[in-house]
Amino acid sequence: MAFPSRTVKVSKGEREVPSWMTWVGWGWVFLGVVPAWALLTYPGWWVTTEGYFPYFNAQAWLAAPRWVWRPPYIMADMPVPWPLPEGVVMLGVWSGLDVLTALRWSLVIALVGGALGVYALLRPVAGVWPAVAAALVWAYAPYTLGLVYRLGHVREVWVWACVPWVLAALGRGWGRTIWPRGGAWSWPLTLAAWAPALFPEWAFGPTPGLHLLSPWWGGVTLAGVPFIAWAVARLGMAVPFYVFTLTAAAALLVVPPARPTYLAYTPPPEPVAVFQGQGVILLEVQVDGRLAPGEKVRVSAYWQVLRAQKVNWTVFTQVLGPDNRIWGQFDGPVGGVTMPLSRWAEGEMRGEVYQLDIATEAPRSLRLIMGLYNRDTMQRLPLLDGRDHVVVATAP
């Protein structure tokens, strides 16, 4: 292959590189970011503080796409559509992927695109290898991987990925004015951005501390990125070995603690019940057996908590007649006495089974309801729509 032999000396300390290397840099960023997104290719979802809500929101949006305005979706969502991530998910679904897979690939695209954006931002001012280093360190920053694997904020990931492109699009003037001083002086921000990596249990543990500081952390991380490029260029490390050694060290610090805990479970298109304000979700209920007098009913329920719970909520499962009289009942703490809700990690999901005996003298018209209450106060926990229970089955 005949590449132009012209060399470009782009920053102090960097080895002169052929001009074609600036194009190859895109490739190295692409390859270097593979371990960051590869974990997203697990065929399922993982434990995040967002739970399956990106999936439920995508399902709802796909059922009735609105590009300008829409009513608030199920939870934690704004009435403004996000055309980029939602468009990517829609393209994925149109091309035959299921919604979960399309969501995962949208995250992959965001991660790769974000890293390439950092490269595009810094390459003209810092040089090829310093920009590659900065792009890869951005991809393995605690905030980036925490956002994807522990918080699971699909839309925030997209915002995070678009910021470098926006900055790059704002013009090279930004780089020319900010870079010479900003690169050198952003080291405290780099330190601050990477500090969570030194406390992985706090940052990525069962109740990830990162989400408390999420927006601030993002800003600090991005502002600290130029220092990486500056340091690589300044210390004469603008060669592949040092760039990838630096990336390896960064990945080694963040990937193991931030790695996802996978869930081999695909929920229905929408949850059965969302308990407002508490982050407790009843994802799915399966009823085995006939809802009829004298029968035994087996109820399988899949619960998920998105926030640490202070109260060990008790589930009530009741078979009611037309006059709201109880003909069969099961009450017990969610997770049982061995694993009550207060011990669940954020994003944790579990399935459990309740058995109900329906009285023989019960009427033929019955309905099975479920809900949560506080055993100490006997107060029921309201659902998103204001009710205090959900009907999961009716007969006849």
Partner: protein, 606 residues
């Protein structure tokens, strides 16, 4: 020696450093106790145990292991390469316990695989970078998986031979000589008798490497080709005593137990995320994406290999050909681990011989370690900065740190079906795990337990393989064992009526031969090769039809024509190897003498 030490300071300096760098990898094996729960940890112990039992019976190379399959025996070392077990047997004979012998094999494999990789890479990239490459090879997660979780003794030792084979190929092509051909032959033979399975994986890689190097050096191509070919032929010849019978007689064992059911490759493809997941755990390979054990390439090796890959873009470096080739090998091998290659597995002959797709990670770590070394060489080459000089150490430390959390074995107290090593535990192990219960094609069922196993499990060392459940209770057949060893039994019999048969607790397999002598055991009446022997269902037991009257029956596991042919080929190859080395020595001696004459003439002239 002294000259070498003085003039090769960098070589042995980095060599010593490498040995030190390997110490963390062997520390888990120095923990008191044994990792009984690791996948093949029990197999390793009982392979050595069985080998030693046969050795004590006078069998130097026991192709037949008498206590496998609940005492019915199995021709394991006729089809399974024995070298790693033989090393373990050697350590046991030096006074180590069975479990220590297994751990000793792993420890030796760590040191020798590091030094072998260092030797291979030193000629390609120089000492410093070779040191880092060797560390990458030892601390590659798959290598550690083989050591600590899979306890794969044969594969771990095969990791010693793999770089040696490539080193041999390169030496033969770059500086052809008879000694180098002999070296390649020894390395290839070593690989073949350590793991024929790995040899099948590595042969195309070595072959391709030879072709690539040859195409890069057109001058004296025929000489280079001939040397490499001679080396490969010597390797095949030296190991023919093993692979020839294994190849021709593998069809007589039940292959479903090797490649069917759980071992169906389609269930064990690696998911893409698994190649990069830092997850680590103990367990076995399971269908689906939720394996407990890890199939990762390793974060640090991956990034340092990328550095190596980027170095290949620059023209003119001496490692470019090796690097480009190894990049291709790594990508191909990675492809073969994933389900995307299912079509290749189904259609290309030889690919499925790997049994488990993730086994191609062995080839991946070889290629990745080479690329890591190239990445380091790119920065250390011709650079005088202190930062560049410490680059090999920086890379090595990062590689060790990257795998530091995987450096442990799970030492447990043995359960009754695990140990302490002995026949009772071996029988319980077979019964509880359905392992070491291989059958031949003559068996119609896989035994779950036998009467003989019952006796062995109770601690009785049964010194006969006659199956007394088939001896009539009416006294028409009197049987008395005169002598027993693992591959032979001599029995005195008295058959009081015609049509009686003597059934042995031995699975039928080529090699079993019965000799029927008169009652004094001096006059041979009849020889029954395995094709003339009868088989008793359902376990395909060796059955000898008895003549009426008294006689002495000898049943012996003997060499078949493929085993004999393999042995003779090995002898001839050994002779050729010794001869070629001697001739090379003489040639070098003459050349050196001529050189001395010339220099003395020059001295007189001046």
């Amino acid at each position: 020696m002294w000259w070498w030490l003085r003039h090769r300071k960098a070589t042995w300096g980095y060599g010593v450093l490498l040995v030190v760098a390997c110490v963390p990898a062997i520390l888990p094996f120095l923990t008191p106790g044994y990792f009984w729960n690791a996948n093949d940890a029990r197999h390793d112990v009982y392979f050595i145990f069985e080998y030693v039992r046969a050795l004590r019976d006078g069998d130097w190379y026991p192709r037949w292991l008498p206590d496998m399959t609940f005492g019915l025996g199995y021709p394991l070392f006729n089809i399974y390469a024995p070298f790693a077990v033989q090393v373990g047997v050697g350590l046991y004979l030096l006074g180590w316990s069975f479990t220590q012998a297994v751990e000793g094999v792993f420890i030796l494999s760590v040191f020798f695989s590091a030094l072998a990789m260092y030797g291979f890479l030193r000629g390609v990239v120089g000492e410093g970078a070779a040191f880092t490459g060797a560390v990458a090879y030892v601390y590659a997660p798959y290598h550690l998986l083989d050591l600590y979780q899979r306890a794969a003794m044969a594969e771990s030792v095969a990791l010693v031979w793999m770089p040696l084979v490539l080193w041999g190929v390169r030496a033969c092509v770059e500086r052809p000589s008879a000694i180098r051909a002999a070296g390649l032959g020894l390395a290839y033979a070593g690989l073949m008798v350590t793991s024929n399975l790995v040899a099948v994986l590595v042969t195309p890689v070595a072959l391709g490497y030879g072709v690539v190097l040859l195409l890069n050096r057109r001058r004296r191509m025929w000489q280079r080709l001939l040397t490499a070919g001679l080396g490969a032929a010597m390797g095949m010849g030296l190991s023919a005593w093993f692979w020839l019978p294994a190849l021709l007689e593998f069809r007589y064992v039940n292959q479903t137990q090797w490649y069917g059911g759980y071992y169906d490759y389609r269930q064990h493809f690696v998911y893409f995320f698994q190649l990069f997941s830092p997850h680590w755990g103990s367990g076995i390979s399971v269908p689906g994406p939720d394996d407990v054990i890890s199939y990762q390439v390793g974060l640090v090796p991956y990034f340092l290999a990328l550095a190596g890959g980027s170095a290949l873009l620059r023209r003119g470096s001496r490692w470019r050909v090796t690097g480009i080739y190894m990049s291709g090998v790594a990508l191909t091998a990675l492809f073969l681990t994933t389900a995307a290659s299912a079509e290749v597995w189904a259609t290309v002959p030889g690919v499925a011989f790997a049994q488990f797709p993730w086994r191609y990670l062995m080839v991946v770590i070889l290629a990745v370690a080479t690329l890591v070394a190239i990445g380091v060489a790119d920065v250390t080459n011709g650079q005088g900065r202190w930062l560049h000089r410490v680059a090999p150490l920086v890379g090595a430390v990062l590689l060790i740190l990257g795998s530091a959390s995987y450096l442990h074995v799970e030492v447990v107290t043995p359960l009754p079906e695990q140990g302490p090593p002995g026949l009772p535990a071996l029988m319980r192990f077979q019964a509880s795990e359905d392992e070491m219960t291989g059958v031949t094609v003559f068996a119609k069922a896989v035994p779950r337990w036998t009467g003989l196993a019952e006796l062995l499990a109770r601690g009785q060392d049964v010194r006969t393989r006659v199956d007394y459940t088939y001896v009539p209770e009416d006294g028409s057949l009197i049987v008395k064992t005169l002598r027993y060893r693992s591959s032979e039994e001599v029995v005195w019999v008295e058959a009081k009526r015609p049509g009686l048969r003597l059934v042995f607790n031995l699975q039928m397999y080529p090699g079993w031969t019965a000799y029927i002598y008169d009652e004094t055991g001096t006059q041979l009446r009849q020889v029954l090769p395995w094709t003339a022997l009868e088989i008793t269902d359902p376990y395909g037991q060796v059955t000898v039809p008895l003549p009426e009257g008294r006689s002495v029956v000898v049943v012996r596991f003997e060499d078949t024509p493929p085993r004999r042919a393999g042995r003779y080929i090995a002898y001839v190859s050994l002779a050729a190897l010794v001869l070629s080395v001697l001739l090379e020595g003489v040639r070098r001696g003459r050349r050196s003498l001529r050189g001395r004459d010339r220099s003395s003439v020059r001295e007189w002239g001046t």
